[in-house]
């Protein structure tokens, strides 16, 4: 079926196959176990986080980690559209990857992966938001991924960004939810891995954690991993979350300091 609501290109198009020069095999770390960008295995990347970029939204945030760029807008709490009574508020999350955000062009309509990621973000955020104070209301969180540099770290960044945006909207929360990710590559843990590292991974862990309450709001792991390694990755992600937490607090305080 032809979608008349969009400008249509040719029926089929494919990305060309890229000839990779053989000598340029990617080496993920050097002899001092430093990664290609100079980080140690357990280091996370610097984070740029700013609130209030979307003037039309109740709350918004923009996050940049390496090349990953994510914008998030929060609308609400507003009246729930479907007239059914619920004593608790409703949280609705929609993640959208811009068609140009990944190595391969994505279709503009919502696919199954986006729906699944949206569900994961809901599960990560719900424990932190006081939905019991917002009967009959809906909070809509829209997340647009402008550039994706590693899916696991991208999802972690989306959760972090959304949590800050919710706080920016002035919605009551128990705590902020920082999230961090780790990749398992060759029996080692690479924190906050990028796209090239992700292609070599055998598994990943995404953890979102409320530092003041010491509660895990979401955990997702995939891959064939020993229990000991998982426990270690889990500890490292918890530490990383605490670091991200301070960045989140700073980004929320910054506009207030500016006005003073």
């Amino acid at each position: 079926m032809v979608d008349r609501r969009r400008i249509q290109g040719p029926e089929v198009s494919v990305a060309p196959i890229i000839i990779k020069s053989a000598d340029k095999r990617t080496c993920l770390k050097d002899e001092h176990s430093r990664r290609r960008d100079g980080r140690n295995l357990e280091d996370i990347c610097p984070i740029f986080l700013k609130t209030g970029l979307i003037s039309q939204a109740n709350g918004s945030a923009f996050i940049e980690i390496r090349r990953t760029k994510i914008a998030c807008g929060v609308y609400g709490p507003r009246q729930t559209k479907i007239p059914s009574f619920s004593g608790k508020g409703n949280l609705n999350v929609e993640i959208k990857f811009a068609p140009f955000s990944c190595q391969k062009r994505r279709q503009p309509y919502r696919d199954a992966q986006e729906k699944d990621l949206s569900q994961l973000v809901i599960e990560a955020l719900v424990p932190s938001i006081r939905l019991d104070l917002l009967p009959k209301s809906t909070i809509d969180i829209y997340i647009t991924v402008l550039e994706n540099d590693g899916t696991a770290s991208c999802l972690a960044a989306a959760i972090t960004c959304a949590s800050v945006a919710v706080a920016d909207a002035g919605i009551e929360m128990l705590d902020l939810v920082p999230a961090s990710s780790a990749s398992y590559i060759g029996g080692e843990i690479y924190m906050d891995s990028d796209l090239a590292e992700e292609q070599h991974e055998t598994g990943y862990l995404i953890l979102s954690y409320m530092p003041s309450l010491k509660e895990v709001t979401h955990i997702l792991q995939s891959g064939d991993v020993d229990l000991a390694l998982t426990t270690q990755a889990f500890e490292q992600c918890t530490d990383a979350c605490s670091k991200i937490y301070s960045v989140m607090i700073n980004s929320l305080l910054l506009p207030i300091r500016d006005t003073q």
């Binding site: 598994g203 229990l227 998982t230």
Partner: protein, 275 residues
């Protein structure tokens, strides 16, 4: 039909029972219900299994293998060559609306999608167990695609565990036709499918397919194999996928609650005990 709401008193009753390690049906916190597993029920499928857990949960899984083309575009040559030599697994989970009220209407789409994604995530990665390279017929051209369709016929709690158990049984039951490859020279290759059922083979690596253990956090404790009423009391669930070597193949939290840091580590350790 399973209930969708629970009274505060009922929840309190369940909570206290769990504290005393005695649940409403007489089980302890880490006891499973009785499992009835059958394989090979559907003659039209290449493999099938049905699992019933206790008195209620009933999941039917059918596996169909089909010849498909290899998806190679869009990646670097290095990755493309690896991909060209692989088959793939396509999952679909559907919860029948007759099983529970929560599967009726639009709510079912979200649940179906979540379960489908969870299963494809586990089965398509290196942790999935199946040797995807053995599913390749002609590199770069043709491969087997394994379609796994899971149908939840009845619901009495703990769908995810039942689903993974049934899937593993169905994959064990699956017989793939043998492809006979003819070399026509000039690099041209063709293949035929063997008619002889005797030559059909199991998918290699089925024994490494993981199963899942779901831990339900109720109060400050956790239980396995929850009934619908217990699931309603659950604040958060943790699905831990493990294979036969005791390796963790996936962890995923679901539900609206959060889990204390210390409890989570304990919960992950528990799975080994359960297995």
């Amino acid at each position: 039909m399973a209930p969708v709401l629970i009274s505060a008193l009922e929840a309190d009753y369940i909570l206290k029972g769990i504290d005393d390690n005695l649940r409403a049906d007489g089980r302890g916190r880490l006891d499973y219900r009785e499992v009835i597993l059958e394989t090979g029920l559907i003659t039209q499928a290449h493999g099938s299994a049905r699992c019933r857990l206790g008195e209620g949960t009933d999941v039917l899984v059918g596996v169909k293998v089909d010849i498909g083309t290899v998806d190679i575009d869009g990646t670097e040559e290095e990755v493309a060559t690896v991909k060209a030599k692989r088959g793939r697994v396509v999952c679909n989970v559907e919860c029948s609306p007759i099983a529970s009220q929560q599967f009726a209407g639009r709510g079912a789409d979200d649940i179906n999608n979540e379960l489908t994604q969870m299963m494809s995530r586990v089965l398509n990665g290196p942790q999935g167990g199946l040797n995807l390279e053995k599913l390749c017929i002609i590199p770069g051209k043709a491969c087997w695609i394994v379609y796994i369709d899971a149908l939840v016929l009845d619901y009495a709690g703990n769908i995810v565990d039942t689903m993974f158990m049934t899937t593993r049984a169905a994959l064990f039951n699956t017989q793939v036709p043998k492809a006979i490859i003819h070399d026509l020279g000039d690099g041209e290759v063709e293949f035929d499918l063997s008619e002889d059922v005797e030559e059909w083979e199991r998918i290699e690596g089925w024994e490494h397919v993981p199963i899942s253990v779901t831990l339900n956090k109720i109060g400050s404790r956790h239980i396995v194999d929850a009934t619908p009423l217990e699931e309603l009391t659950t604040e958060a669930k943790l699905h831990v996928m493990v294979n036969r070597n005791g390796k963790i193949c996936g962890i995923q939290k679901s539900g609206s609650g959060s889990i204390e840091h210390s409890l989570l580590s304990e919960m992950v350790q528990v799975h080994i005990f359960v297995i």
